[in-house]
Symmetry: C2
Subunit: 139 residues, 2 copies
DNA sequence: TCAATATTTAGAATTATTATATTTTTGAAT
DNA sequence: ATTCAAAAATATAATAATTCTAAATATTGA
């Protein structure tokens, strides 16, 4: 898996982040599963690979990744911050029952922001909430 | 102001909420200022009118209003929940500097949710983040 | 009126996150 | 390789937002 390590190292480097073992593992986790995890989920998953890791390091790493544009936060109603390594424009759907967040494709041109003249728009998101097909059929 | 009281009472009744003095005052606050306040902001503002009010009552009232469809929460990156009494479809812009949340009009038809077939969509929102004109010109 | 129910309160508990101070790791210069 | 400084990671304390709990108060209906 020398390739993967090299890829992650390069990915961090391109975004101006010095590699460290934690950063590599966190990045690998975020890139390989596009599940919009919370900090706690990242921490829980990584405890197996890095038994000595601390929550603070996870928070620091995620905050750094945000600043450097490696991940972005997903605006949601919940109070846990969720992180997304897919920085392309897409929508998010949050299921009210299972809490899962789904991505969906949407044409960026559809979103007409003419009324935001004078504003500097750095991020935009489409957010929907309701029932996912699974939870809908379970009722 | 008998009119206002009657209006608020009726508004609550229509949404299946029994009126109480706290509920009336909270509703009045939410309807008269469309500022997407946090629970703490509502609490702070109401302490003057209702000196004995508790935070728990504010939280309870806002939660009840959400369930009954009187307000909805605004999905944001921040970790304080923000409430919006304007339930019509519109976009939100959050300023990264001053934290203020602005509404903007956007045509609902523009948002193409065809890819969410099989999902029950109960809420949708457009979220943007960046610099508001004020904070942009201050830099 | 009086019991049953709903609402509100104060404060404790919980959860998510951030801050702090110490230790460990890393990488350059010797 | 060894030393040293800077950066990163750690454990833990502190903070912030919210929720829970139990008691007090208010409201409603027989």
């Amino acid at each position: 898996m020398e390739n993967k390590t090299g890829y992650l190292r390069e990915y961090l480097h391109k975004h101006g982040v010095k590699p460290s073992s934690i950063r590599m593992v966190v990045l690998d986790y975020l890139l390989s599963r596009r599940t919009h995890p919370t900090a706690e989920e990242v921490y829980g998953a990584l405890c197996q690979e890095l038994p000595a890791v601390s929550r603070a390091s996870i928070y620091n790493t995620l905050e750094l990744f945000c600043q450097k544009g490696i991940v972005k936060t997903v605006p949601t109603d919940g109070r846990e911050t969720r992180y997304d390594a897919d920085r392309s424009f897409h929508g998010h759907f949050e299921c009210e029952v299972c809490g899962k967040i789904y991505d969906f494709r949407i044409d960026s041109d559809n979103v007409d922001l003419r009324e935001l003249e004078g504003f500097v728009v750095r991020e935009k998101d489409i957010y929907c909430r309701g029932l996912c097909p699974q939870c809908h059929s379970d009722q």
